[in-house]
């Protein structure tokens, strides 16, 4: 089933959470709504679910206007950041809930419900915990139960609100790969909200970057990462160094880094450079090298993180490979040169 949001506006008091946002999600797609907190991504998700209602605009499921339908009748599966499992019910009863509250004539017979619940618990690999209570489960297990519970009613669309936000880093990574595999298996139209760019880029078919109640860019993970539409998207998808730059004949020449509030003046533009796209050398290289001093080195991790400072004291972050680090024999307080390999100018 495809989902369409048309010109959705939602305000809370004087705060504009969504400002005429339109979004279309195709059937079977897995879309990530990515943005900082307050960007309106969760509000948009809750409006699609029917847990929140827009001030103006409409929500369409398969072309049918569902704006005025309650959450109860929309047939969506919703997974909450903090699981929202029914604490007084066993895992089995949690998953069975959606099936047992159906109207009598739509309800499956007892035996069928039982079979369906066990089938779902097997799908999330937790059948052995059926008689446990939520408080006896780990965070990762709870979120998988929540997912099984949402899938039990065979939702036409699955909505996940920061599903891995409350889990620790290792479990997050495992669970998001697992979610990707699960989606490839069951192909239910899914939207998930996250503020973690890595998560969005890894899991989603399509990423929608939001900021300040508006959509900044939507596209495949490759598109938004390599062809960011604007400075916000580039900035949000990774760390950056910001430089004053001048553009001549389609080439950008950087001068000194921007510190504090960037104010472009006299034809200056702003140039964005990712730390791992900074070259460090002992000798001045082309194009436009910048003399800097090594302030701090952190070599724990796949890349060596080097903090550099210009003569004026402006900081620049660089990341180089361990091989390059060995080659340069870099030490703190060394004087070196940096030059960007790739510059984005907006």
């Amino acid at each position: 089933m495809n989902i369409e949001a048309r010109e959705i506006t939602k305000t809370f008091g004087s705060f504009v959470a969504l400002d005429r946002v339109s979004l279309r999600v195709e059937a079977g797609e897995l879309v990530a709504l990515l943005g900082p907190s307050g960007s309106g991504k969760t509000t948009l998700l809750r409006i699609v679910a029917g847990l929140e209602f827009p001030d103006s605009g409409s929500v369409l499921f398969d072309g049918q206007d569902t704006t005025e339908r309650s959450a109860q009748d929309r047939g969506v599966g919703f997974v909450f950041q903090h699981y929202a499992l029914f604490r007084h019910m066993s895992v089995y009863d949690n998953v069975a809930f959606g099936l047992t509250v159906k109207r009598r004539r739509e309800r499956l017979p007892e035996a069928k419900i039982k079979a369906r619940v066990h089938e779902l618990l097997n799908l999330v690999q937790l059948d052995w915990l059926a008689s446990h209570y939520p408080s006896q489960l780990s965070g990762g297990q709870r979120q998988r139960v929540a997912l099984a519970r949402a899938l039990a009613v065979e939702p036409r669309v699955l909505l996940l609100d920061e599903p891995f936000g409350a889990l620790d880093a290792k479990v997050r990574q495992e669970l998001r790969r697992w979610l990707r595999r699960l989606h490839d298996e069951i192909h239910v139209t899914s939207i998930f909200v996250t503020h973690d760019q890595e998560e969005a880029l890894e899991v989603a078919d399509r990423v929608v970057v939001m900021n300040g109640g508006k959509i900044e860019q939507e596209g495949s993970p490759d598109d938004v990462y390599h062809e960011p539409a604007n400075a916000f998207v580039y900035n949000f998808l990774g760390n950056i160094n910001l430089f004053h730059a001048r553009v001549e004949n389609g080439k950008a020449y950087i001068s000194e880094p921007v510190n504090g509030k960037p104010i472009p003046s006299n034809g200056d533009r702003l140039a964005y450079v990712r730390p791992h796209l900074m070259n460090i050398g002992r000798e001045p290289q082309q194009p436009n090298p910048l003399p800097v001093r090594v302030m701090h080195i952190n070599s724990a991790g796949p890349l060596v993180k080097v903090e550099l400072a210009t003569e004026r004291g402006d900081r620049i972050q660089a990341q180089i490979s361990h091989e390059r680090y060995q080659e340069l024999l870099l030490r703190e307080d060394d004087d070196v040169f940096v030059s960007p390999r790739d510059v984005k100018v907006f």
């Binding site: 679910a49 847990l51 047939g75 007084h88 709870r142 409350a166």
Partner: protein, 301 residues
Amino acid sequence: MATTVLTPTTLRAPATARRAARQDPALVRNGLIVVGLCFLGLFLILPLAAVFANALSAGCAAYWAAIRQPDALSAVRLTLLAALIAVPLNLVFGLAASWCMARFDFAGKELLLTLIDIPFTVSPVISGMIFVLLFGAQGLFGDWLLNHNIKIVFAAPGIILATVFVTFPFVTRELIPTMLALGSDEEQAALTLGASGWRTFFRITLPNIKWSLLYGVILCNARAMGEFGAVSVVSGHIRGLTNTMPLYVEILYNDYQFAPAFAIASLLAMLALVTLVAKSIVEWKSERDLAASAAGAGDNR
């Protein structure tokens, strides 16, 4: 690795030092305990014992006779009737009010909360006066009530009204913090799974708030049966008709009938003891449930 042989003195010295750091001197500790126990004995246990001692001072037969007096039985009946009406009413009001306060944001919410608290802040005598001023013969609706031959003040309806008013905040006050702490995620989850509002309430909300609700009901009931001030103003003290148990105790006492007065008082004291036991059981059960869910919530493996 070097081994150090600890002599008894080197062992003992740090141990006492450690204890001194964790505890106050014995004099302070024991002194506070004695003060606490004295206070407890003087103000709680001694009066309770005195009630039962005085009640039985004329013997068991007299005790039994005092309770079986028609006026006494009528007072018990009226007290039970008032509680039987006030408690369920306030259970429903309390649920509705706390649902409204905990789940919705609206203008005037603080004002509503203050209004709900009025029975706690206003003297019960004033509460009683309000009803006399409204429904009494000289009151606002006095003429109309008289013309339609409806008696409220100096009759059972007035006593029930006063009881409902005085016990109004108990359930709400217990429920609001619980419902706020629970949040509405589980209810929203039930909704998205296709449950109706009523089903969500009975299957999700009610099981989660049941202990707080019961706790509120117990306190509400204890106050409903024990209320004196407000009820005293609206009752008119007509023996066998508009006396509740606390009022009847006062009348007997003023008539120098000490043993019967204490006999009825002992019934109220027993009610208090039953309430205490029920309250402890509910507290123990709800804490156990809370600990179970908290143990899970804190851990995000």
